[in-house]
């Protein structure tokens, strides 16, 4: 199986879909000629022409607003917001328009669009290049929220998102663009080409939206994670020796509740891990669902390891980022009772 980076995976997915479906167009700030600040659309304008891949003004509400109009016409826009931290000017178009168009018009109009946003920390991005705003999307009815943790899933999920008839928020952990990251910032970086998780199949394929994957099977404790935290959790399990079952959620809405319930019913212990801030974060929703569905299986209280309830700091990045130490301590604590 060939290997590739998550950047290549995303570029492949858009390339495959532009070639396959005449309705697919992609655009955003620096997306066209330059190929994106993270190279995710490199070469696409040259290959497919400016009508299919183009640069936009720096206006997030404009980018998403035209995407909604294009989708209502019948195109399949893939819009990019350069950093998830900059999606706020587009939030009205996302929440009030894209998410509700099908509902409010009873299906007269729909918005089959994808909004790609690089997200997450671990790169010294500080306050406005590190945020994880997934809970601001999962709370919005009518949106699907997807976040891959490896190149294979990134490509398959993005193709599935483009083909999906509902609006999809596609969050890309930028810390994972070039290689997996387990939180050990003091160790050499491993590229995807040297990682067992770096598989990137060629051509068209999909990974279903709404399905989690069991990243590491285990018997002692269930870990629910997504994005970069999947790799952090794996490192924590290996380092503590706790036989954790790590579930990579991949899609947050609609959530794969069956896989979660099956696992927690088996282990009786749950640790939830995410980079986003704690209060009203997506972890709260996960904890509530599991508590309702697995109450009599739970041996210990559900734990959450998350970003602190502060803006994302620059100098204190590694005190903020929920690394393998913090996750490992939660795993050990879960096993104490």
């Amino acid at each position: 199986m060939p290997r590739g980076t998550m950047i290549e995976a995303i570029r492949d997915a858009v390339d495959v879909m532009i070639a396959r479906d005449e309705r697919v167009v992609t655009f955003g700030q620096d997306v066209g000629y330059f190929g994106g600040v993270f190279r995710c659309t490199e070469g696409l304008q040259k290959k497919h022409g400016p009508h299919r891949c183009f640069d936009t003004p720096i206006s997030e509400t404009g980018i998403v607003g035209i995407a909604v109009g294009m989708a209502a016409y019948g195109l399949r826009p893939v819009a990019e917001i350069q950093f998830a931290d900059y999606m706020y000017p587009a939030y009205d178009q996302i929440v009030s328009e894209a998410a509700r168009l099908r509902y409010r018009s009873a299906g007269d109009f729909t918005s089959p669009l994808v909004i790609r946003m690089p997200c997450g920390g671990g790169i010294y991005g500080a306050q406005t290049h590190s945020q994880s705003p997934e809970a601001l999307f999962t709370h919005v009815c009518g949106l699907k929220t997807v976040i891959p943790s490896n190149p294979h899933d990134a490509k398959g999920l993005l193709i599935a998102a483009i083909e999906d008839d509902d609006p999809v928020i596609f969050l890309e952990p930028k810390r994972l663009y070039n290689g997996p990251f387990d939180g050990h910032h003091d160790r050499p970086i491993v590229p995807w080409s040297k990682s067992e998780h770096g598989e990137l199949p060629e051509g068209y394929y999909t990974v279903p939206i709404g399905k989690a994957s069991v990243q590491r099977a285990g018997a002692d404790v269930t870990v629910l994670a997504y994005g970069t935290m999947v790799h952090v959790a794996e490192a924590a399990a290996n380092e503590t020796g706790v036989d954790a079952e790590i579930i990579d959620l991949r899609t947050l809405v609609p959530l794969d509740i069956e896989t979660i319930v099956t696992s927690v019913s088996k282990t009786g212990r749950l640790v939830i891990v995410h980079e986003g801030t704690r209060t009203s974060g997506f972890g709260a929703e996960l904890a509530a669902e599991v508590q309702e569905r697995c109450f009599y299986h739970l041996e210990v209280p559900i734990q959450r390891v998350t970003g602190w309830d502060t803006p994302y700091p620059h100098a204190l990045e590694w005190n903020y980022f929920p690394g393998p130490d913090r996750v490992g301590r939660a795993l050990l604590k879960a096993m104490e009772a």
């Binding site: 167009v25 009508h51 299919r52 936009t56 003004p57 206006s59 509400t61 404009g62 607003g65 035209i66 995407a67 909604v68 109009g69 294009m70 209502a72 016409y73 019948g74 195109l75 826009p77 000017p89 009205d92 178009q93 009030s96 328009e97 509700r100 168009l101 099908r102 509902y103 409010r104 018009s105 009873a106 299906g107 007269d108 109009f109 729909t110 009815c141 009518g142 699907k144 008839d165 509902d166 709404g210 809405v253 609609p254 959530l255 509740i257």
Partner: protein, 413 residues
């Protein structure tokens, strides 16, 4: 510090309304032009040809109802009678819907009284397949193309035949077959969506145009700027309409920045040709609509049009304008009433009469009454059948995921 002792103390400017409950309206500050006075540029003229237009007012009908000047195009009297009919029908519809709201048959309604010419005349300039992105005050777009009143009324009544299944506030229609995009409560959002729709049509190679609609108050929203910017960058086939009816609920257009310059003038900074038009002059609206639609259709780029008019009715059935403007303020409004003006023109050219007018009005009122009776027979907001609660969970997504199915079952459906 270079400040002198005599420099004025810093203070802010707060725009004054030209009218208040204690004093009648004075609209002498609004820039008007005589009928026939403003040139008609070639549709492909350079931007320079439009510099002047944003500060003037295209008018065709003079005070005696005569058609004057370069924007007076030869028109079929039957087309004008259709326009008069559409405006009368819109007004009769509004009156009936307000009555239904007062009778408690629904929760809410919004009239477009005084603004009928804009939507009705503009719709006549459009072709099948074009798409309007309206606000909540362009019901004339539907009525001018004889969209079934019963369908509109069922939406207002949120009854069993409401195609929106009772999900939307009254007047938030959606009618793709009529080129009428689903209305949202969030102001300005549709303006940039219209630009995207027009971009899609161009990408697709379809000869269709989009029409964006916004009120002058909502031009303050950031999406107004985004729409003009994207329209100016990509030059898609879109017409950007601003309906300046002087009022955003209680705020005079001066609060939206209308005292400093016209809304038409804003387009010039984006390099978009713009025109300012008498919105109560059916002939002027129609001529400018044809002109801008032709520009879009011929790939000559976007146009912004400011329609100058007056919001005669309350903002909505939840509003009481006597709290912020003079009673009968519209009598001070110099552009009159669009229906009266077209009627005078048609009578003047021998194509209409008072008798025919009265008869048409009666006929349309009967038509509206009949439609209202039929719509009521399908139920009202508080009485009769409505959409099943199970439908509340549909159309959130194309297919309901497990959590919505669970919630539907929890409700007992």
């Amino acid at each position: 510090m270079l400040q002198s002792r005599s420099a004025p103390t810093p203070s802010l400017h707060f725009p004054e309304s030209p009218t208040r409950p204690e004093h009648a309206g004075d609209y002498s500050e609004v820039v008007f032009s005589a009928a026939g006075e403003v040139e008609r540029p070639a549709p492909d003229a350079d931007l320079a040809a439009f510099r002047d237009h944003a500060g003037r007012l295209i008018r065709v009908l003079d005070d005696e109802g005569r058609a004057c000047g370069p924007w007076a195009q030869p028109s079929d009297p039957q087309a004008l009678r259709n326009g008069l009919r559409a405006m009368l029908k819109t007004r009769a519809y509004d009156a009936r819907m307000v009555r239904m709201q007062r009778q408690g048959l629904t929760s809410f309604y919004m009239q477009c009284t005084g603004e009928e010419a804009i939507a009705c005349a503009f719709q006549a300039a459009l072709a099948k397949g074009d798409m309007n992105f309206p606000t909540y005050r362009q019901q004339g777009l539907l009525i001018a193309q004889d969209w079934p009143l019963v369908d509109m009324m069922c939406q207002v009544l949120s009854n069993a035949k409401d195609r929106m299944k009772g999900r939307q506030l009254p007047v938030f229609y959606s009618a793709p077959d009529a080129g009428f995009f689903s209305i949202s409560g969030n102001l300005g959002t549709q303006y940039v969506q219209a630009v995207g729709w027009a971009m899609a049509a161009a990408i697709h190679g379809a000869r269709k145009i989009a029409v964006a609609w916004i009120g002058e108050g909502a031009t303050a929203e950031s999406d107004f700027h985004a729409a003009l910017l994207f329209a100016s960058v990509y030059r898609p086939p879109v017409v950007l309409n601003v309906v300046n009816n002087q009022w955003a609920i209680s705020s005079n257009q001066a609060v939206a920045g209308g005292a400093q310059s016209t809304f038409a003038a804003r387009a010039q900074g984006y390099g978009i040709p713009s025109l300012r038009v008498d919105g109560n002059d059916y002939l002027a609206v129609r001529a400018v609509g044809d002109w801008a639609a032709a520009r879009a259709r011929n790939n000559l780029g976007p146009t912004l049009i400011e329609f100058v008019t007056y919001r005669v009715a309350p903002h909505s059935t939840s509003d009481d304008p006597s709290k912020y403007r003079a009673r009968n303020d519209q009598s001070a409004w110099p552009l009159g009433d669009p229906i009266d003006r077209l009627k005078m023109h048609l009578i003047g050219i021998g194509e209409w009469s008072e008798e025919r007018h009265v008869a048409l009005q009666a006929k349309l009122e009967a038509e509206v009454s009949q439609a209202a009776a039929e719509a009521r027979s399908y139920g009202t907001l508080h009485d009769g059948p409505k959409a099943s609660p199970a439908t509340m969970f549909e159309d959130v997504f194309k297919e309901a995921p497990w959590h919505l199915r669970e919630q539907r079952q929890a409700l007992g459906y």
